[in-house]
């Protein structure tokens, strides 16, 4: 067995009396990929913030390479060799790749090349960055401005920065949440390379298949408590979920009764330059149509165009045999289309508004007296939705931003439902949502389809697509490559068409 590089014992931390971390432990070996699992709110991010010195612990020990890490701040831990790749990419967009990599360490580079220490030796910085990126096997121009990079490329730059910092432990927080499958493959290649160099990785992700593919060891936290550490080979999907949720989930996906009515939505020849072309499909009432494909295949773009968020180059949209022109979300909503965006924070809800105001937002006109808001009627409706969707909130006045991801998603779904849609487009409905809440959202989607609503569901999680869809439309590079029956489709079939 490899030697331990980082050991954490009995770490605790409270926020205003509530224990966010309660006696947590961790044993990280040299050169291992150690997955840290747990639902949102399990304490993973508090744990990581303490590790990198962003937060102080109330009690407990952190032993790094045999010595105690105490009262350290971020720059201390960085120097000692602990780096974190943040989910929200803490980079300076206007600076170049090389400048970002050596940010804060310009003097070191300059001193080594013998210049007076106030001098900025950009050519040396560029040379070193190029060398580093080449070593990693990624082709990124070190002189490109950061803002022109894709999320995956930024991640590579962040990793390069960690390597140049001589990081011995790299923490990756949901590194694959916004990158394509191909980019994931590159990332995993680099992670394996790092392993070979005895760098240890703490890997946080919600994606089960990834965890089993890349990690050696898995530690599970739940409600701020340490649950267990096991070798990845000892676990499977179900046993891991059970550890995270604290109970057995017998069935992820609810039964499908399969009662479909007439065609509600049909699109013909839908095209938008540079995004997708020649898309045609129909959805019946009570049917769930899954849209599958890799990142960038054009799934979200199609949804946005149907909902009037982006202009359509050409093509026909029919709702119940009527040709419709949709130029704005306002049009779409009035014609019975609802859209639950993948970008929950950006397009889904208004963070500083109350739960109640968010739920009612699209149907405020139905709750009015003249120009005034009918407060009583509004509260009645909101309470009905909160009960129906089982939204967990401390009250209708609570700000939406304070809810958990799953409950935020339910608020958005509630808002869309209140506008009484016939067609609902769900774009990554369970992204960033806990396993427990996922199951509830699946039930909710099934309920909607049983009430006769036509549903289009976009998802990057193949089990979800397979578990929920009646039919699956597969897209590749903006073209539709197959329509599969939900019962017959397999992950392999979808992947085959997705890369076609």
């Amino acid at each position: 067995m490899a030697e331990t590089i980082l050991r954490v014992k009995q770490l605790s931390r409270s926020f205003s009396g509530i224990k966010a971390l309660d006696n947590v432990q961790l044993d990280l070996k040299k050169g291992e990929v150690h997955a840290l699992m747990g639902e949102n709110g399990a304490g993973k991010s508090t744990f990581m913030k303490i590790l990198i010195g962003l937060l102080a612990a109330d009690s407990g020990e952190i032993i790094f390479e045999g010595s105690h890490l105490e009262n350290s701040n971020v720059s201390d831990t960085l120097k000692k060799g602990i780096s974190m790749i943040h989910q929200e990419m803490l980079v300076i967009p206007e600076l170049t790749v090389a400048q970002n990599i050596f940010l804060g360490r310009e003097k070191e580079v300059t001193r080594k090349s013998g210049w007076p220490s106030l001098w900025l030796d950009d050519s040396e910085i560029n040379r070193k960055a190029a060398e580093l990126l080449k070593q990693m096997g990624v082709s990124i121009d070190p002189e490109a401005r950061m803002k022109f990079l894709s999320v995956a490329q930024m991640q590579m730059v962040e990793i390069a920065k960690a390597i140049s910092n001589n990081a011995k432990v790299i923490i990756m927080d949901e590194p694959t949440s916004a990158i394509s499958d191909r980019e994931v493959a590159t990332l995993f290649g680099i992670i394996r390379e790092l392993k070979a160099r005895e760098v240890s990785i703490i890997y946080i992700s919600h994606k089960m298949d990834e965890i089993f593919e890349i990690s050696d060891t898995i530690t599970v936290l739940r409600d701020g408590k340490y649950i267990a550490t096991k070798a990845a080979s000892e676990l499977d999907n179900n046993s891991l979920i059970a550890m995270m949720v604290g109970r057995e989930i017998s069935q992820m996906f609810p039964e499908n009764a399969g009662n479909h009515g007439e065609v509600v939505l049909s699109v013909q020849n839908l095209s938008s330059k540079g995004k997708f072309s020649d898309i045609h499909f129909q959805v019946r009432s009570g049917e769930i149509l899954g849209l599958a494909g890799l990142m960038g295949a054009g799934r979200t773009e199609i949804a946005r165009a149907i909902f009037g968020l982006d202009p359509l180059e050409k093509g026909e949209i029919k709702i119940r045999d009527q040709n419709v022109r949709i130029q704005s979300p306002q049009d779409a909503i009035s014609k019975g289309i609802g859209y639950v965006s993948e970008d929950r924070k950006g397009l889904g809800f208004i963070p500083d508004m109350s739960v109640s105001d968010n739920i009612i937002l699209s149907s405020l006109r139905q709750h009015r007296k003249g120009i005034f808001i009918d407060e009583k009627g509004k509260e009645l409706t909101v309470n009905r939705i909160i009960n129906e969707l089982r939204i967990k909130t401390s009250g209708t006045d609570q700000k939406a931003v304070q809810l958990s991801g799953g409950n935020q998603q339910k608020v958005v779904i509630g808002k869309v439902l209140l506008a009484s849609p016939e067609i609902v487009i769900l774009d990554e409905p369970t992204r960033g949502v806990d396993v427990g809440a996922k199951v509830e959202i699946y039930k909710l989607i099934r309920n909607l389809s049983e009430k006769g609503i036509a549903i289009i569901m976009i998802s990057s999680e193949l089990p979800e697509i397979l578990g929920m869809s009646d039919r699956i439309l597969v897209l590749s590079k903006g073209r539709q490559t197959a329509v599969l029956s939900g019962k017959e489709a397999t992950q392999e079939m979808i992947m085959k068409y997705a890369v076609a």
């Binding site: 979300p329 909503i333 950006g346 208004i350 963070p351």
Partner: protein
């Protein structure tokens, strides 16, 4: 009472700009709108010419048009409101000078001068206007669909659009309302100094924005209340009045005012951190 009268103009403008800031915009043309609407109203307010309603409607109409123009350019051009209203600020100043031919418009009728200088039941008329405007603005913001949409647009514009809200219409409304409130301020000012001054109102926009910010309106949009803004305006009035009477040199007054603006925002964000 004096303070009430003295803050009335700034408070009216601050109410207007609070609407705009809540939607995530800004209006720098307030001061110029005060000048334009004041000159327009004064032009029709000479004794024995038109009934009182004419100068009032002319002034308010000018404010409405000016505000609507701001809203139109902001929604149609995609140019940031800061730039648009910086432009219309200068345009407005020029218009005021053109309309008045660079000369103050004086010799105004007694009924017109009553608006800024008269008392009703012992209460100065500007205070009555202030109270009515406050109530109307509070109701618009808290009780109407338009008000709720303002918070939504400022809180997250793309989400508001995706929720089916006519974002551009909401913006048209707030700039127009802001124009009307500025016109009310312009009329009040003209009446108080019994002259339509083309140079009047310079720098008023900054005091109004300061009142809104001190009152807790976030410059990034989505939050803010009329009560907060009213308190902000009163506070600025009380402080500048006290400093005057305490014989604090005007040089120091500016420093004190700046410290208060920053202090209010710092306290506010400290509060936010504690909560979040």
């Amino acid at each position: 009472m004096i303070i009430g009268t003295q803050v009335s103009i700034n408070a009216l403008l601050a109410f207007g700009v609070t609407f705009v800031i809540i939607t995530g915009g800004i209006d720098l043309s307030l001061g110029s709108m005060v000048a334009v609407t004041g000159v327009v109203a004064a032009t029709f307010a000479h004794p024995d010419t038109y009934p009182l309603a004419v100068p009032l409607l002319a002034g308010l109409g000018a404010g409405l048009l000016f505000g609507a123009f701001n809203g139109f350019v902001v929604t149609k051009s995609k140019v940031p409101p800061f730039i648009v209203t910086l432009g219309t600020m200068t345009i407005g100043r020029g218009l005021a000078l053109i309309l008045s031919k660079g000369r103050p418009v004086s010799n105004l009728s007694d009924p017109f001068n009553f608006i800024g200088g008269g008392n009703v039941f012992g209460i100065p008329f500007p205070i009555i206007i202030l109270i009515i405007a406050f109530l109307v603005c509070s109701v618009i913001l808290n009780k109407t669909i338009l008000g709720r949409y303002m918070y939504a647009v400022g809180g997250n514009e793309p989400a508001a659009r995706a929720s089916g809200i006519g974002v551009n219409r909401v913006k048209m409304w707030v700039y127009t309302i802001c124009g009307i409130l500025s016109a009310l301020g312009g009329i009040l000012l003209t009446s108080r100094i019994t002259t339509g001054q083309p140079n009047a109102g310079a720098g008023f926009e900054l005091d109004a924005i300061a009142a809104a910010i001190i009152g807790g309106t976030s410059t990034s949009g989505g939050t803010g209340t009329m009560t907060g803004t009213l308190i902000g305006a009163l506070l600025i009035g009380v402080i500048s009045n006290s400093l005057d009477l305490l014989n604090v040199t005007s040089y120091y007054q500016q420093v004190v005012m700046g410290v208060i603006i920053i202090g209010a925002v710092v306290l506010d964000s400290a509060g936010k951190k504690e909560r979040g």
